[in-house]
């Protein structure tokens, strides 16, 4: 056994230098290909945002703006409601995230600590499976359901509640995993030290799951920020999300590609900034096992 291993290793490393060079070249080639694939849309989006409208409509596309138009970024706000759309999106995403996180943490805690009383693994999985559901299947029923509520469909609250359908299962499931990883002995020790369950939870367990909670918040927030399908059907007059503003740059006769791209770039800023600020927690949270030690 050992002999065989040693001899086969000798055979494969007969020309190790050459072998490693090919691996490296292949690796870099794939990396370049992958980067080209993923970064090209972003690059084209950025240069388009700086082009003039005429340049965007050339039959032969240009890959660098002939005439830089940074004013496009102000031009998108000529329509004042476009800025309000970003605010509306922000309100909806933030409120929805807060709600999903609050309810998801409570439910996740229950599933982690009292699995039998909370309904067990099957119920927890059923909740998660709601996330796997094709949303379009419930599009029409949801519309009618929200239409009969006092606030109707065209309001912040309708989307804040509706997005819980997707974000709450995710938050519940992930928080359940994080709470399971937080040792129950710590809470028990806190009870014996004289702390009430609620204070023990806040002082001892919550800090342990905080990195996880922040990742969950990021995932929820980005989903709610980017949602288009339901927003398009539900809101549009009193409330507009930025996602339904983007198509409005397409008019009957032409599409203002430069403005559309400029607006899209602006809409990308909040999630990117959030991600950069919180990426330390994201990595810690998503790598699970937050408190093994």
């Amino acid at each position: 056994m050992t002999m065989g291993e040693t001899s086969s290793r000798h055979a494969s490393t007969a020309r190790p230098k050459d072998a490693w060079r090919y691996v490296r070249i292949l690796f870099i080639a794939f990396l370049v290909l992958w980067l080209a694939f993923t970064l090209f849309p972003l690059y084209f989006m950025t240069i388009t945002a700086f082009k003039t409208a005429a340049e965007t409509n050339l039959t032969t596309p240009t890959f660098w703006p002939q005439d830089w138009q940074p004013a496009n970024f102000l031009g998108v706000f000529a329509e004042r409601t476009n800025f309000n759309a970003l605010i509306d999106s922000f309100i909806i995403a933030t409120c929805n995230t807060a709600l999903a996180l609050f309810l998801g943490s409570l439910a996740g805690y229950a599933f982690a600590r009292f699995p039998r009383q909370a309904g067990g693994e099957n119920l927890a999985f059923w909740i998660l499976s709601n996330r796997m559901f094709p949303p379009v299947a419930i599009l029409v029923p949801m519309f009618f359901l929200f239409d009969i509520t006092p606030w109707g469909t065209d309001s912040h609250i309708s989307l804040i509640l509706l997005y819980l359908v997707f974000n709450l299962p995710l938050a519940t499931w992930l928080m359940m995993v994080f709470f399971r990883d937080a040792p129950v002995e710590l809470e028990e020790a806190a009870y014996l030290d004289g702390w009430t369950p609620l204070r023990a939870f806040v002082k001892v367990t919550l800090p342990l799951v905080l990195p996880g909670m922040i990742s969950v918040a990021m995932l929820c927030w980005i989903f709610a920020w980017n949602e288009y399908l339901f927003a398009n059907l539900f809101v549009g007059t009193a409330v507009r999300t930025y996602t339904i503003v983007i198509p409005t740059f397409t008019h009957g006769s032409q599409t203002l590609w430069n403005l559309q791209m400029a607006f899209s770039l602006i809409a990308m800023i909040p999630p990117v900034v959030l991600f950069i600020l919180l990426r330390r927690y994201m990595v810690r949270g998503l790598s699970l096992g937050v408190v093994k030690g």
Binding site: A190, Y191, L192, G194, W195, T196, G293
Partner: protein, 366 residues
């Protein structure tokens, strides 16, 4: 500090056909300031018992009294118990000092007092140099001390230690045992020490409560457990190496019974008290037990002969595994004895060291 009484305590997990009877009719009376060890193999119900004492587990039936007052249905916060966990359960995002002071904070002590008290306890446990560190930076032994300190810092009714040394190496364990004994002497607290290790239990505790199969088997000091074990389980569990057991037939000799081990030449003659008990029981078959320590090598013709199967040199002594017919048992010999495999040795014993158990109830006779 308090006297702790457990009265016919029961714990049943689950219900119906899936139920598990984890603790059955358990009685235990722990005096104020006493150091009692709860000893038993894993799964015997000792952890359930201690979790009921501290209030982390509900009681199915029975009563728990602290100083004569029932705390059976009190929340853990209302029982004033302190516990050191097997996993230490230190709060990972607090420093050692904050960990120590945590039980004081909830009692509304001001920061200066908390600081002074945690310094005091750190002094006793010799951990003043790590007060600023966080638990993940500490070694197992240091974490152990901090967890003891957090339990000791207030004045609890009872102090519970759950398998606190199972993750320490032998050297540290010895040091901790010494420290614990010293702390108990200095502070005079009621301590319940839960362990599966008889060495720890016998070395530390005033009395040892032996549990098995959800039931209390015997409560007593070292000598009682060793010399008068109530049943086969205790005789087997206490003592290292374990007691030799033989299924034997009772033959009545001239005036006293002789225990004949089938398929061997072994004839055991118990001491007078045990002999009388055997006679009174009227049993024709019994279980006989003798500790390896009670079998001595003899130069002349001994009470029984055996052939050496294994000779293990253990440093300060040798352990011989010997056979006689189909019987196989162990005895201890001084290290200088050079008994080769296959050699015949002569063994002697004092009749009083023979323990006889009822074959059905497995209880000690007499």
């Amino acid at each position: 500090m308090a006297r702790v009484e457990l009265k016919s305590l029961n714990k049943i997990y689950g219900s119906g056909s899936h139920s598990v009877h984890a603790v059955q009719d358990l009685d235990l009376d722990i005096a104020d300031g006493e150091f009692v060890a709860l000893l038993g193999p894993s799964g015997c119900g000792k952890t359930s018992t201690l979790r009921m004492i501290v209030g982390l587990e509900s009681v199915s039936s029975g009563e728990i009294l602290f100083d004569g007052v029932s705390v059976t249905h009190r929340e853990p916060q209302g029982r004033n118990v302190a516990m050191a966990f097997e996993t230490y359960a230190l709060y990972p995002n607090f420093t050692v000092e904050e960990n120590l002071a945590f039980p004081l904070e909830v009692r509304g002590l001001d920061a200066a007092t908390r600081r002074r008290k945690s310094r005091e306890i750190a002094e006793i446990l010799q951990i003043t140099d790590i007060l600023g560190a966080t638990p993940p930076e500490l070694s197992g032994g240091q974490q152990q001390r901090v967890s003891l300190g957090r339990a000791l810092i207030r004045d609890p009714s009872v102090f519970i230690l759950d398998e606190v040394m199972s993750h320490l190496d032998a050297h540290l364990k010895f040091q901790m045992m010494f420290d614990l004994k010293r702390l108990h002497r200095e502070l005079g607290r009621t301590i319940v020490y839960v362990t599966h290790d008889q060495v720890e239990a016998l070395a530390l505790a005033d009395r040892v409560a032996v549990m098995s199969d959800a039931r209390m088997q015997q409560v007593g000091d070292r000598n009682t457990l060793y010399n008068r074990p109530t049943n086969v389980f205790v005789a087997d569990f206490i003592g290292e190496p374990p007691t030799n057991f033989f299924k034997a037939e009772v033959r009545i000799g001239k005036d006293r019974p002789v225990l004949v081990v089938p398929d061997s030449d072994i004839r055991l003659t118990p001491g007078p008290a045990m002999a009388q008990a055997v006679m009174e029981s009227g049993r024709s078959a019994v279980i006989a037990g003798i500790r390896p320590q009670s079998l001595h090598l003899s130069q002349s013709q001994g009470a029984l002969q055996a052939r050496v199967a294994i000779n293990e040199y253990l440093g300060e002594r040798s352990m011989l595994t010997v056979t006689n017919g189909s019987a196989r048992f162990q005895c201890l010999a001084p290290p200088e004895v050079r008994a080769g495999v296959g050699e015949t040795v002569q063994l002697d014993y004092s009749p009083d060291s023979i323990m006889v158990f009822d074959p059905e109830s497995e209880a000690l006779m007499g």
